[in-house]
Amino acid sequence: MLRDITLGQYYQTESVIHKLDPRVKLVATIVFIITLFLINNFIGYIIAAVFLACMVKLSKVPFRFMVKGMKSIVFLLMIAVVFNLFLTPGEPLFSFWRLTVTKEGLKLAVMMAIRLVFLIIGSSLMTLTTTPNNLTDGMEKLLSPLKRLHVPVHEVSMMMSIALRFIPILLEETDKIMKAQIARGADFESGNLIKKAKSLVPLLVPLFISAFRRANDLAMAMEARCYRGGEHRTKMKPLIYQKRDRAAYGVLFAYAAVCIYFGRIFTI
């Protein structure tokens, strides 16, 4: 029922991408997104597409898993495309009623659509190949210089990892409560907006109660194991760069250089 949300859901398999250090994947995702927004011609997008396709292939995650995550942004995508299409001033291509489609608008809309789609696929690739724990570990390590500025890096990353960890649990819980209420004749689908909103009460109340109960239990369990923040905390598996991680950085920066060169500076 609620299983089609990919963001934050790890896909278990053996691949080079899965084995990479989470820091590499984080940096790669950020660099990839930056290149997406720096590119302004189609050669650049072709390079980005090829790079992304190679990474998807290497990750061994079925492509449809990434497309699943896209469903949630269809609406945003439509807005971006429609607004860019009609509201960009420039050389008119054709017009109907009061709306005019310009050449620049068309180009911008297509680019925006490509950017958003690539962005989602790129970041889903990271979350699909990295366990939430690894991801926040990587984030903590990457941001650790900020500790000097008294930014609570450890606490923030702990909160994030807990939040991420709880997404599948709460989804499962929602599924269970939903089924239990459906078994008692609840109807979550029919009716108008107000009726639908009302029908969510039997779902939301138990869900909140269970979330609070879980939070309480978790806090207790952490305290029982003497958790008291990041000070002097060591890790069982500290992140250390391997050979393949360095190689990955090499590939990444080679991609970024080529992509930016052809996508921005180079013009035919």
């Binding site: 239990a180 078994a183 008692r184 004749g185 609840a186 039997p202 138990p206 269970s210």
Partner: protein
Amino acid sequence: MAIILNHVSHIYEEGTSMEAAALKDVSLAIPDGQFIGLIGHTGSGKSTLVQHLNGLMKPTSGNIFYNGADIHEEGYNKKELRSKVGLVFQYPEHQLFEIDVFSDVCFGPKNMGLDEKEVQLRAYAALKQVGLEDDYFYQSPFDLSGGQKRRVAIAGVLAMKPEVLILDEPTAGLDPKGRDEILDRIAALRKETGITVILVSHSMDDVAKYVDRIVVMNQGGVMYDDEPKKVFRYYKELEAVGLAAPQVTYIMHALKEKGYPVNTDAITIEEAKDEILKALGMKS
């Protein structure tokens, strides 16, 4: 014949690396009025199976018939089916949401579209059936004890007056007293109303005393399906799949090995007592 399962299979996440068959070619016939124990260890597919019986889950292959009609046929009234086949989930107290016990029990019958008076009558009757005292009716369900909450949740399903009552591990997490209370209530209820009851459990001791028939599930398939005493004859095989026969069965087998002329088919403590006294040449 009330419920018939015809070669039902269910595969989770078909076509991914997480693919797992939860049910493998299960065929069962559940006649009206039977008291069935559905036994299996964690992950044997018993919870998946019961969710198929009221149409919450759709089999990946096979058919399910309720009173002769295929429940997944187009136009079949699933809502009505769910009021006829009442399913009480594991930890049903986690589904309570209303401000007081009585309104929570009203939720089911209200969803059936009954008029207010009938709804309240049914809620009252259901709360009486599970043995909850009137004092608790207008308290918040969250203030009750674990066992009371569970009884309220069971009443919530009973208020729909189901023809078949399915309870998924109704005793999980309860103390021995709470467990016996719930099971005795269910047995009494069945005697009064004659409804079909399917009791899902992993404990043979829980069900041995009450049920007419035991269905043992293992790895998504039906392993044994027979009267309790016949199923318990396979106690060694049951152990091999992570289950156990009732403790009484072990005692009787141990006594038999020592040469006492006891009948190893005794299931309950009473039967065992009679057998042992008989073997010792005394009358009970």
